[in-house]
């Protein structure tokens, strides 16, 4: 048997979530989930070879940030990873962490619903920096009489 090391990166969040959940159920005490948020200098462009050249985004001069989530169990040696550089995916990922966290706690969880849950449910919770401009302070009242 040829020893091939399978890259632990999974293709989608839902794959990662499903696999991680299985691992967590098998080894609930030793499995841990690590999220790494990395800001790297913009020099290395190797990773982005896709048709990104068409859009002249200002991000090419800004540092490249990535978020990697890893589920690892030292007992079995299983390692599952997912990597993204999209801000829009943070929300989903953290919700996965929440669901898996409940699984860690020993609660019954249904991971399939975690990704289907409406994104908007969390959105209104953003704390907006209240613009204290002073002067104009008009607020639209919905259905105000």
């Amino acid at each position: 048997m040829a020893q091939t090391v399978k890259p632990p990166y999974l293709a989608s969040i839902s794959d990662w979530l499903t696999q991680s959940n299985l691992l967590l159920r098998a080894y609930p005490t030793t499995t841990r989930i690590t999220s790494k948020y990395t800001i790297a200098p913009p020099v290395s462009k190797k990773r982005k070879r896709t048709a990104e050249t068409t859009s002249d985004d200002p991000a090419s001069t800004a540092p490249q940030a990535t978020l990697t989530i890893k589920t690892y169990d030292p007992n079995s040696g299983v390692c599952l990873k997912y990597r993204t550089d999209q801000a829009a995916e943070v929300n989903r990922l953290i919700r996965c962490l929440g669901v898996l966290g409940m699984g860690m706690a020993g609660q019954e969880v249904d991971v399939e619903t975690a990704l289907e849950a409406p994104q908007a449910a969390v959105a209104p919770a953003i704390e907006e920096k209240a613009p204290e401009e002073g002067g104009k302070k008009k607020k639209k009242k919905k259905g105000g009489r």
Binding site: I33, T34, Y37, L67, N91, G106, V122
Partner: protein, 131 residues
Amino acid sequence: MAEQERLSNDEFLDRLSELLKSASTKSKASIYLTQKRLSGISDDDTKSDLRSDSLLDYADISPPTHLPVLIRATNGKSKKDRKDKIKIATVVQPDELESFFGKYAELCRTGMSGLKKRDRSKGKKKKKVKA
């Protein structure tokens, strides 16, 4: 190794917010967030049991009571930069998990500002197809 001091959940989130903020001002930084079950078994016990199946009993897989979850955060400074290392930890009780992760998600979204924003013009094409 001495047991690390554990912050309250709110204090942890405040400190994590600072940690993310300080990272975003740098051109090169990493923040590590880890979560695992707090089972009362210390890491040393876990290591010595690695090759036995004692961790695989059913009480472990389906615990009689819900267990708290340990959350750690660090800026990953080690070796020669160890003096700059920031390491914080908190324990989230099972019934507080949902509210904690709500705040946590919000904080991460604002704190991880270096990631790419969604391209709105392209994004509209990607509508979910209902099967």
